[in-house]
Subunit: 382 residues, 2 copies
């Protein structure tokens, strides 16, 4: 692959501050030109079978029927209904269960308090929650980008309905999709997951603290100001329409990472109105199509929604607020590919031990994605 950016155009090594999470990313442009005799990703063929009799997620099929008649999961012997739209069911191997923590005693195994040593060194707490799987539709071969407007709207409506049901009862609701074997998807049938938990995990906790502090200091939402800044700058914008902005964040870690932001204040998927839902259908298809066209393969990624946290039933009073005054709804897309369909970015060594590092600038990434966006949806840099 030839690199289309002249070497000279890249700025020197620097680090950028992630204003949303309060952390840094090291940007050292040009390292994507180094020789690579490392791992080559398997190119995932586009799926071509509308219904796979062996797929545990396809309509009408048996789940959990492994060799010997079962695998010990909750889905043993369960048959999927003949569903025709999005289909949500309880994860057969949930990481979280509703009852956890109420009657299990100390969950950490056999804690051994040491005389004179602070307990803080071995500290744990129970976590309750629910884990669900959401098939985006009955078709084994139809990913989000290939869906009709109506099919995509049905996916968004299901995300919204799940949020409305779960957000009032759990501290955090994580809607996400792992797409592609490279991103740990254990099954190729187009699907996502919904995990709700009794605690606020660290990643949204950091975003929550930063957004609260920004609102206190500036009287506006951090991500609403940020979207305006990016729209004016233009150079990191991938696509925009009436309601939404798709942007490679200034502080992106993954090579082609993007963020999807509504252009007006919205705290949660539960608050989407008709026009915002319609423009989300449009920008979602635009963004996912640009990804697929970039290297000409079904682009692997993990994506997920960050909406305002639900009520805390414990903790300091400052955390009890369920309000979304400070919080702006957004989606993150984390795709691993760097140079081609087969060469990904590895966040290893330095990244795991010190901090994230990227090999192309966010501006270079945005320009390359933008080239695959049809012009009406493309926001010209100013």
């Amino acid at each position: 692959m030839t690199n289309t950016e002249p070497v000279e155009s890249a700025p020197g090594s620097h680090r950028r501050f992630d204003a949303l999470r309060g952390r840094w990313v090291l940007v050292s442009a040009g390292r994507d030109r180094r020789p690579w005799s490392g791992q080559a990703e398997a190119v995932q063929p586009g799926l071509t079978v509308a219904h796979d009799p062996a797929c545990p997620l396809c309509p009408g099929n048996l789940r959990g029927a492994g060799a010997g008649g079962g695998n010990g999961g909750d889905g043993d012997g369960v048959r999927n209904p003949d569903y025709t739209g999005p289909y949500v069911f309880a994860n057969d191997f949930p990481a979280l269960r509703p009852g956890a923590g109420q009657d299990q005693g100390d969950p950490s195994g056999r804690p051994v308090p040491q005389a004179g040593l602070p307990d803080a060194l071995l500290h744990s707490e129970p976590v309750a929650g629910v884990c669900r799987v959401m098939c985006f539709g009955p078709r084994h071969d139809r990913h989000l980008a290939a869906m009709s407007d109506g099919e995509l709207a049905a996916v968004i409506d299901t995300w919204t309905a799940q949020t409305r049901e779960l957000a009032p009862r759990w501290r955090w609701v994580q809607i996400f999709e792992n797409r592609g074997a490279a991103m740990g998807a254990s099954n190729p049938h187009p699907h996502g997951q919904i995990w709700a938990s009794s605690v606020l995990p660290d990643e949204p906790a950091a975003e929550d603290a930063r957004q609260r502090a920004y609102l206190r200091q500036h009287g506006r939402r951090l991500l609403v100001d940020y979207a305006a800044t990016e729209q004016a700058a233009g150079e990191r914008v991938v696509a925009a329409n009436d309601g939404w902005l798709a942007v490679v964040p200034y502080w992106a870690v993954w090579p082609f990472e993007t963020m999807l932001l509504p252009l007006r204040p919205v705290a949660s998927l539960a608050d989407l109105d008709g026009p915002l839902r319609a423009s989300l259908v449009d920008i979602l298809r635009t963004l996912l199509t640009a990804y697929d066209h970039l290297f000409g393969v079904p682009f692997p990624y993990s994506m997920g929604w960050h909406g305002a946290p639900g009520p805390a039933d414990s903790g300091p009073a400052a955390d009890r607020s369920t309000g979304g005054e400070h919080w702006q709804l957004h989606a993150h897309f984390y795709p691993p590919l760097l140079r081609s369909a087969t060469i990904r970015k590895f966040l290893v060594g330095f990244e795991m031990l010190a901090g994230p590092q990227r090999d192309i600038t966010p501006e270079q990434a945005a320009a390359r994605l933008r080239a695959h966006v049809p012009s009406p949806a493309r926001a010209a840099p100013t």
Copy 2:
């Protein structure tokens, strides 16, 4: 693969607090039993050629001579010497350069300050540093675990010498190894890297803050107390000898993650004495051999050393201390495999968007690794 732990023995879902970094990990044991039709890792064959004429890291070979006679890296046309022990040279595609930030103006590209919008949203700073590659030895086929005592001691001495040279001049020195294609190694010749930077990255910054606070509160080093706690508990210990402890941390994220800790206060690799070096040779070989035996393949991992940060030439007075009073030297090992030689743990979806989650308990992981440690080195649980 059959799971040897009875389902009943696993505790319910809980989260554990990482006392070293101040973050949480979700532990949901038993999820490693779910069906897997996802990505299978390629099993890396053991290397069998002592010298590979095509390897840019082998002694006497040309570096950077790609198709067309070069690849634009600093190593174009450079020939490796006929080195016979560890060999350190400047990375041909450095992520950091010594001069960066002194004369480059604003490094962030074209920042566009928006009237009325805080600059904080697009904030960057220059980072200087050096990046080096360290071949562990001339043999293309000899990984650390297969080295003689003398060869391993030479590797440790080189780590020590590099630390002595770089730590006084840079804020952070990161010595690390990415082993195996699954961990992003771009070349199979046994080698590590050394990146030094003018700033303290987030990961060691978090460890620094936590260790400082602990010393203030308890008058002792956090990781010295932690090692004593783990030795007494026993159940997470993988191996121990006179000088060192290898343990699956209570808050481990990766399935078979371990930490290597000296048993007495030592701030930096630069402070290792003869006996500690000798016992490090021993425990390093023991740990790496246990890894390789666990699934019968060269075990992929990223590992690295965390020693006391160097002097800060900027920042608040509280950060200027170069002292290692609070800091305890340690190494982290982050291996990705979960169930077998071909099935790894993916930290994706929920992990990227919310927080880390693991599928087996640290106690289960330690027991399985311990089974591959010869008895003299094995610390029996009390």
